[in-house]
């Protein structure tokens, strides 16, 4: 690979089967099978697919939460085996993922505290990222006092302040209302541009995929889900859903879903 130095995540022939029963090789099924994907450093990569297609399985393997059955997933050439602070995760359900007994600042500082960083330095870094995600003046609130969008901002700031290289986002705006979702999409693009992080973003919303992604991987249906096609999205940010380029891309992607094609 000529661009090996710029590859962040390299997925090779990745499969995951959930085997039922105790016998290895017994009755089971491949949720995902033979996935090959390279994600560049600083890339905004979308994984798009229908519900239950194995997007989350793929994401969980990259995050290190579940093991793979076959193939390899490497970050900067090192095989991923377990979760780590190099891969920050933003979960769809913020209520279950952020710590309700900690304030916004406490949540944002969590990773730094686990690292053993001194409180003065911690405060400085957390302030920076609280400002970046637009939560200044809310830093002393508890999650119970925050709206859904604000909770997702907390999740982002928490991973960013921990200086994770990649942000893994699992349908993070899926539970938000349409208006808040639009705002959060714009915010995410801004944060991505300001920080230059690699983002892997899972969604089943075509519009969201086109608004956000530089490349859009389309997954086929499970079982044996795989990456069916990758679209390059060169439309300039901030993207306008009413522009001809947007509509054309939307039409192309929608076509896969409309006509089946095993998606």
């Amino acid at each position: 690979m000529s661009s090996a130095g710029n590859t962040c995540i390299k997925i090779d022939n990745l499969s995951k089967d959930y085997t039922y029963g105790l016998k290895p090789g017994g009755p089971g099924r491949n949720v995902i099978k033979g996935i090959n994907l390279e994600i560049g450093r600083g890339e905004f990569h979308i994984i798009l697919g229908p519900s239950g297609c194995g997007k989350s399985t793929l994401l969980n393997i990259i995050a290190g939460f579940i093991s793979k059955s076959e193939g390899s997933v490497a970050l900067n050439g090192t095989e991923i085996k377990k979760p780590g602070r190099d891969r920050g995760v933003v979960f769809q359900n913020a209520d279950s993922a952020i710590f309700p007994w900690l304030t916004v600042r406490g949540n944002v500082e969590y990773g730094l505290r686990m690292k053993g960083m001194a409180s003065g330095k911690r405060r400085q870094i957390s302030s920076e990222y609280i400002r970046l995600v637009g939560l200044e003046s809310h830093e002393n609130k508890y999650p119970g006092e925050l709206s859904g969008g604000m909770k997702q901002r907390v999740q982002m700031a928490r991973s960013l302040s921990n200086d994770s290289e990649i942000l893994i986002m699992d349908e993070p705006f899926g539970a938000l209302d349409a208006h808040t979702r639009r705002i959060m999409q714009t915010e995410l693009v801004r944060i991505w541009q300001e920080t230059g992080k690699t983002i892997i973003f899972v969604t089943h919303d075509i519009t969201e995929a086109i608004i956000l992604g530089q490349r859009i991987s389309i997954m086929s249906k499970s079982p044996d889900a795989t990456i069916y096609k990758i679209y390059e999205n060169t439309l300039p940010y901030h993207r306008n859903a009413a522009s001809p380029g947007f509509s054309a891309l939307f039409g192309q992607i929608q076509g896969h879903f409309d006509f089946g094609e095993n998606i």
Partner: protein, 289 residues
């Protein structure tokens, strides 16, 4: 003319009086309603009702069978003034406090470990589910044999009575932690040891707290039974021996004291939970809107 004026004056006067009368009635009803609601909200009404029914019922029986509230108060005054009641309350409380504290100190860490490690859970759960159905009082004779008739056997008994409910609640607390919360902590770089104190304990706290509250109830139940059978002092002893002197009023004093002790201590624990541990989600004033 004069007559007409007189009639007119009378008429308006009457009307005025009628109006002020109906206003007074209205005001009275409103005040009464507010008072009843206030009394109900503050729990006063409950007590008035209880003592009322008790008082009426006691009219039908002798003092030896069912003393009236006033006779019970008189009986209470007797043992309060000679210091017996206070001493017994202190002794029973001390036993409860020791056994319960030891129960918490043992059951909370044990529950965290058992809840966290599946192998230990598989080993200990059947054991816990077997033992917890044997009431503490069933062990009394055994404990008397092993630990003597002194304080030790009672403390061990209370310990036994509190340990299981705290243990089970702590285990459930650990098991009900959302997977995402642990995954988030790991992704943020927390080690498994750091996760124990930074995620496991705070997340399980509401359950642990419920276990601790329930444990205190178990402690009170068992201490009375134990003191009835094997003690020379304490509230249970008071209840049991008053029978010998036909002092039914003292039995009532003992029972009411127990209720009051439990009520006060539960209030204290809840206040502690709400103020100190409130941010962990301990909350007993939820409105189901």
């Amino acid at each position: 003319m004069e007559r007409v004026i007189e009639i007119a004056v009378n008429h308006t006067g009457n009307k005025h009086r009628e109006k002020s009368e109906s206003q007074a009635v209205y005001l009275f009803i409103r005040t009464l309603r507010a008072a009843v609601w206030f009394a109900a909200e503050k729990g006063i009404l409950t007590w008035i009702l209880l003592f009322g029914i008790w008082g009426i019922a006691s009219l039908a029986y002798t003092v030896d069978f069912l003393p009236s509230p006033l006779e019970t108060i008189a009986g209470a005054k007797e043992i309060i003034l000679d210091g017996t009641l206070v001493r017994f309350v202190a002794i029973s409380s001390q036993r409860v406090l020791w056994g319960w504290s030891l129960g918490i100190l043992f059951a909370v860490p044990a529950g965290l470990i058992i809840g966290r490690l599946e192998l230990l859970r598989r080993i200990f759960e059947p054991f816990i589910d077997f033992l917890r159905f044997i009431p503490a009082i069933g062990f009394l004779t055994l404990f008397l044999m092993w630990f003597g008739a002194g304080e030790q056997s009672k403390v061990v008994l209370i310990f036994y009575a509190t340990v299981f409910v705290i243990l089970i609640n702590t285990i459930v607390g650990v098991l009900s932690i959302d997977k995402n919360r642990l995954q988030a902590a790991r992704s943020l770089g927390a080690s498994e040891f750091q996760i124990i104190y930074s995620v496991l304990i705070p997340s399980a706290l509401p359950h642990v707290f419920t276990g601790i509250r329930l444990g205190l109830g178990g402690a009170f139940t068992s201490i009375v039974a134990a003191e009835m059978l094997a003690a020379k002092e304490g509230i249970g002893f008071l209840i049991y021996t008053s029978r010998l002197y036909f002092r039914t009023d003292w039995i009532f004093v003992g029972l009411l004291t127990l209720g009051l002790m439990g009520y006060v201590s539960d209030r204290l624990i809840r206040a502690f939970g709400k103020t100190v541990l409130g941010r962990y989600g301990i909350n007993d004033t939820r409105k189901f809107e």
